[in-house]
């Protein structure tokens, strides 16, 4: 249950093709994250899978059945929207019961399932309130409750945490991950936040302008990005990308080295520069270094106790085993 196969799927809005032919396999029980910059087509792709938009070409198969022309109500999927999309005129209980009502379950059955979902999500205390009276996090849970109660083949999440404040976001991330552990249902999750992607996913799909740049586990993408785009997108702060003579030393057009793979010293190292901005987070320190001659600015990570600050001269030593090489087309070498 919850196996997806997308073959040659395309989507065009009028004249503009936003998704060129795309192939993707999603295995049963996987937590897949679609990630990419704004406008890359990740939400569109999700909506195509949900059936809320028609594909312009290609096929979508769910559990071996061709669902390309099947309306959303009959695909057996549940979706959690960015704005939660709760029914404002219904109580939480009625909101969660709605899909069961549409499926024709008896009132007793509905109540049983709603109560079960409420217990799982810890929302029994406000089950008779209306969405307008709830906080963002509470609404989020109701939206998830409404999805769970349908026992769908897969859950679709469309940037569900974007509207929450930072602290709440971290908490909800954990809850969703735990939910996945418990239910073991396929989850397809869309976000523009690569931290969410890295922490939650079994498999990440990086999208750019409708094209899949790379598919792999978080660590795969981190350790072996297939091209410049993925290299720059995954990992925060961004990987440093250097061209010119330094890259030529490694016989390629561009090399990349992550901030956390550069050692910092006040006295010696092959690269030298001047700190223009230093960000002290307590646990780590990030230095933005200029005048290296390698790139306009490089970001370097150091421990929280390093005493260097802005204006200081600094020496950098890259870990050569962690240097990534990219050819003139931006592809990994």
């Amino acid at each position: 249950m919850g196996q997806f196969q997308l073959s040659g799927v395309t989507k065009a809005f009028g004249e503009t093709q936003v998704i060129p032919p795309l192939d993707l396999t999603i295995d049963e029980g996987e937590f897949v994250v679609f990630v990419g910059p704004s406008g890359c087509g990740k939400s569109t792709l999700l909506r195509l899978i949900a059936g809320l938009e028609d594909v312009s070409g290609g096929a979508i198969t769910i559990d071996g059945q061709d669902m390309t022309a099947v309306p959303p109500a009959r695909r057996g999927l549940a979706m959690v929207f960015q704005s939660y999309a709760l029914y404002p005129h219904m109580s939480v209980r009625k909101n969660i019961a709605f899909p069961l009502r549409m499926a024709g379950l008896s009132k007793a059955e509905q109540d049983r399932k709603v109560d079960a979902a409420a217990k799982v999500l810890n929302l029994t205390s406000y089950i008779d309130r209306r969405p307008g009276q709830l906080s963002g996090g509470q609404r989020q849970r109701v939206a998830i409750g409404r999805a769970i109660v349908r026992e769908p083949k897969a859950f679709l999440f469309d940037e569900p945490l974007s509207n929450l404040d930072a602290a709440l976001r971290v908490g909800m991330r954990l809850e969703i991950t735990e939910l996945h552990e418990r239910l073991k249902t396929t989850m397809i999750y869309v976000t523009h936040d690569q931290v969410e992607a890295m922490t939650m996913a079994d498999k990440i799909v990086v999208l750019n302008a409708g094209r899949i740049e790379q598919v792999g586990t978080p660590l795969d993408l981190y350790r072996s990005p297939r091209n410049l785009f993925v290299a720059g997108f995954i990992g925060s702060p961004r990987m440093n990308l250097l061209t010119g003579p330094e890259a030529a030393r490694y016989t390629t057009t561009t090399i990349g080295i992550r901030p956390e793979h550069i050692a910092v010293s006040a006295t010696s190292g092959p690269w030298r520069g001047r700190i223009v901005v230093s960000e002290h987070l307590g646990s780590d320190t990030f230095f933005h270094v200029a005048d290296t001659g390698l790139a306009p600015s490089m970001t370097v990570r150091a421990g929280g106790e390093v005493a260097l600050t802005h204006g200081d001269t600094v020496f950098l030593t890259p870990d050569t085993s962690k240097i990534h090489r990219f050819d003139a087309n931006g592809l990994r070498v």
Binding site: L52, F81, F98
Partner: protein, 276 residues
């Protein structure tokens, strides 16, 4: 404003506003007062303002002698009938324009609005003759039909603006939850749209009640609503101010009350969104 307004300034403003408001409202007030006077009192010179013998005889006479309630009922049937019919036609149309917009939606909406700008006299002749041959002259049915067409653009427009305020995602959620189109409209859209539908109903009943071109020209005795009824008083028949006032007061009272509640809708419905 962080600074407090001086009481003096507030008093001057209040006085000015109340004076002007009173002057503007005076004709209505005078009509209501006159309706409680005797005819002799009504044309007394100098006129009395509040101190006279209040009487209800005019209200009684108007009802008895001129079938006031027959005309009142015509107004009710025609305005509510045309508005309800308009709503039945307009709700699906506004739904589709608001939730499944296409390339042409904007043009379609503009075209609908433009039909309201056609001057009634432009089609007076064919409508009159057409009604005559169809036997629709002086029938409530005929008037309901015409007024529905006249107000349909405004009804569609207002519903469209209210529907657009409903987040599309909620309807999509309903679809994902397994709702058929019928369920979606019945259980999700309608309850959320009720305030908007009520507002649209309110404004358009008012507009239909006050319509004074077709109601004057297409009716005679049977289907004449209040607009025509009052118009029949235009040829003076001697002492009748008090009765005219009573008839007028009864004719405008319901709408004045409804109108007070519909100010916001007025702005929304008649400026076509150009003013927020």
């Amino acid at each position: 404003m962080a600074r407090a307004v001086t009481p003096r300034r507030k008093a001057i403003t209040t006085a000015a506003a109340w004076t002007i408001g009173f002057v503007i409202f005076f004709p209505i007030l005078w009509t209501i007062l006159t309706s409680f006077k005797t005819e002799a009192e009504a044309i007394a010179s100098p006129p009395s303002f509040l101190f006279f013998d209040w009487t209800l005889e005019n209200y009684v006479t108007v009802q008895q002698r001129s079938d006031y309630f027959g005309h009142f009922w015509n107004s009710v049937v025609i305005s509510f009938g045309s508005t309800l019919l308009g709503l039945i036609i307009a709700i699906p149309a506004a739904w589709s324009m608001a939730f499944v917009p296409g390339k042409r939606t904007k043009d379609l909406l503009m075209w609908m609005l433009s039909t309201k700008m056609m001057p009634a006299v432009g089609v007076l002749v064919p409508i009159y003759l057409g009604f005559k041959s169809l036997g629709l002259l002086d029938t409530r049915l005929g008037l309901v039909a015409i007024l529905t067409m006249i107000n349909l653009p405004i009804i569609v427009w207002m519903l469209y603006t209210y529907f657009k305020e409903i987040p599309g995602e909620i309807l999509e959620a309903a679809r994902m939850d397994g709702a058929s189109l019928r369920s979606e409209i019945l259980y999700v859209l309608a309850p959320m749209a009720v305030p908007g539908i009520a507002s649209t109903l309110l404004l358009n009943v008012i507009l239909a009640w006050n319509e004074a071109f077709w109601t004057l020209n297409l009716t005679a005795a049977k289907a004449a609503p209040l607009t025509a009824f009052i118009a029949s008083y235009s040829s003076p028949e001697g002492l009748f101010y008090a009765k005219l006032s009573a008839a007028s007061t009864m004719a405008i009272a319901p709408i004045l009350i409804m109108g007070w509640f519909s100010q916001k809708q007025l702005v929304r419905g008649l400026t076509f969104g150009a003013v927020k």
